[in-house]
């Protein structure tokens, strides 16, 4: 029993030396690198998780913005289409209006020409009729002037005729 409960100075000495040695050696050689690499790894994992979260967030944000963009593009397309349609309508209407105008103008011009020609023809005819009348009158006068009676009667009728005019 004395061996069990006694404290030996030598053992205490060796135990102190040995334990302090192992403490120093382990701290420098093992615990230092192990703890630091454990810490690095834990930080790495925490970082990776955080980054994954961020990426997820970014992803959803991008998705939302993509949808926005898509919607905007669709709206833009609709707008452009509508614009083009209205523009084409307008252009067609314009063209139709212009051609109508042109036609009207041409018709009016033609009508004016026709009127002119008609007037010219009438004038021409009038002149011819006058000429013919003069010739006729000449003939008639020549004839009638030969006869007093007839001349008188003719004068009379002519005056009557022209007087009524």
């Amino acid at each position: 029993m004395e061996g069990l409960l006694s404290v030996s100075v030598g053992t205490v000495f060796w135990a102190s030396v040995a334990f302090l040695c192992v403490l120093v050696i382990m701290k420098r050689m093992a615990w230092g690198p192990i703890m630091s690499s454990l810490k690095d790894r834990e930080e790495g994992i925490a970082n990776a998780l955080r980054q994954a979260d961020l990426a997820k967030e970014e992803m959803s944000r991008l998705q939302a913005s993509n949808e926005d963009l898509l919607r905007e593009a669709r709206n833009e397309r609709d707008r452009i289409l509508n614009e083009a349609k209205s523009m084409s309508d307008k252009m067609r209407n314009d063209a139709v209006g212009r051609s109508q105008e042109e036609a009207n103008r041409i018709i009016a011009k033609a009508q004016a020409e026709i009127e002119n020609q008609k007037q010219a023809a009438i004038t021409d005819l009038k002149n011819q009729v006058a000429d013919l009348s003069v010739q006729l009158a000449e003939v008639l006068l020549k004839d009638s002037l030969t006869e007093e009676q007839k001349q008188k009667a003719l004068n009379h009728s002519l005056i009557k005729e022209f007087g009524s005019n």
Partner: protein, 419 residues
């Protein structure tokens, strides 16, 4: 070193863990037989016959170990006949095994002498402990004096040249590498080899998952860091004390396990009071050195206590700073020694009954071996548990000494969180 490297390079960690489990189980079964073989040499010879009976149930379970023990048993049996009158003293046998010694008894007549270092009257004497004894034909030690020194129940005394047998000598300063000191050095060498390879693995494996032996050690390192140091000390101070706590934890645990490995001479390192005394003293020194104003204030001038209570409280508090490490020391020593005593008691039981009649030896031997196997399992648990308890309490004492008053509640909160 070679095997550690091999384990480290093994790719399949799971298979390795399985392998360890199987090794442990085989180890348990082997220990039962081995424990018997070791005690044979000391236990008086007449029981040697019955030793064989105790071996037999073990033989079925363990192939390699049982063979050697059976051989040993047969050898002893031959001697046993001659010393039939000698009585087996179980108490002596147990005390012999759990006490420190100047040589390692591997079983039978195989002894490893250890260096004896004596400081006597200012000069150092270094010689082998084999000078103190000669091994007789029964595998027992016959002690004799050497250079005037006498090994009196493993206590070295100076009796002078040609002293009579019952002469009383005076104590000398004994710095011998005893069995426990040698075991402790063995553990330290093992620890350094093991953890250096693990640390190198960490350096090599940066950014990769742990593998091999590193994978086996890491849970325990994390256990000490996250379940012992962090809750007791808080995040800021834990980093300072974790290296010490890790060292103490693995040192005690490996010492405990070394004590359970058979065929190594039955080390009882953590059951040696001198060694646990040193561990406890280091805890005491660290606690006292790192004790802040608040810690000492609580001891010498407890706040919020009426004057007359202070008179009672202060001495108690003052004593407690010494009692705490003493309790650490005694708890560890007592637990480990008790475990060894129980296992040895079961061995002794079979031997005692075997002395009465071989049949009783057989009968009790079967039960003894089963109980011993159970106790070995329990002792493996205790080996871990005592290392854990020592480390946890040390961490709590450090936490007490460094605790900041204002953060007490926050600290409690942390502990709850950790659980």
């Amino acid at each position: 070193m070679l095997s550690v490297d091999y384990f480290c390079t093994a790719k399949n960690g799971y298979v390795m863990v399985r392998l360890y489990q199987i090794l442990f189980i085989i180890g348990f079964l082997g220990m039962t037989s081995v424990a018997i073989a070791q005690h044979e040499g000391h236990a008086s010879e007449p029981v040697a016959h019955d030793q064989v009976s105790v071996e037999q149930p073990v033989h079925a379970n363990t192939e390699a170990h049982a063979d050697t023990t059976a051989h040993a048993a047969h050898g002893e049996a031959a001697h046993g006949e001659e010393h039939a009158k000698e009585e087996f003293k179980i108490g002596e046998m147990i005390m012999h095994h759990i006490s420190d010694a100047h040589q390692i008894h591997l079983g039978g007549s195989l002894y490893i002498p250890l260096p004896v270092i004596i400081l006597h009257e200012g000069h150092l004497d270094i010689f082998s402990s084999s000078n103190f004894y000669s091994v007789n034909e029964h595998g027992e030690l016959d002690y004799h004096d050497y250079k005037g020194y006498r090994n009196h129940h493993e206590m070295i005394e100076f009796v002078g040249e040609n002293a009579s047998h019952d002469a009383h000598g005076h104590k000398v300063m004994d710095f011998s590498i005893t069995k426990s000191v040698f075991g402790m050095m063995l553990v330290i060498v093992l620890m350094i080899i093991l953890f250096r390879s693990v640390a190198n693995k960490y350096k090599r494996n940066v950014g990769k998952a742990p593998s091999g032996f590193q994978n086996m050690i890491e849970p325990f390192i994390l256990f000490v860091r996250d379940d012992i140091a962090l809750p007791s000390l808080g995040k800021k101070k834990a980093a300072l004390y974790t290296p010490f706590l890790l060292t103490v934890f693995f040192f005690i645990w490996m010492c405990n396990i070394l004590g359970l490995i058979p065929f190594l001479g039955g080390f009882n390192i953590t059951g040696t009071l001198s060694i646990t005394l040193v561990l406890a003293a280091i805890v005491f020194i660290i606690t006292s050195v790192s004790g802040n104003k608040h810690y000492w204030g609580h001891i010498f001038w407890p706040p919020g206590v009426p004057g007359f209570v202070k008179v009672i409280l202060v001495p108690i508090e003052f004593m407690s700073i010494f009692i705490k490490p003493c309790v650490l020391m005694i708890r560890l020593t007592a637990n480990i020694t008790a475990g060894h005593i129980i296992i040895l008691a079961f061995v002794g039981l079979a031997l005692m009954f075997g002395q009465q009649s071989p049949a009783a030896g057989y009968g009790v031997g079967v039960g003894s071996v089963l109980f011993m196997a159970f106790m070995y399992c329990l002792e493996m648990l205790v080996a871990f548990l005592q290392a854990y308890v020592f480390t946890l309490l040390a961490a709590l004492y450090f936490g007490d000494a460094t605790q900041d008053h204002h953060h007490e509640h926050e600290h409690d909160h942390e502990i709850q969180h950790a659980h």
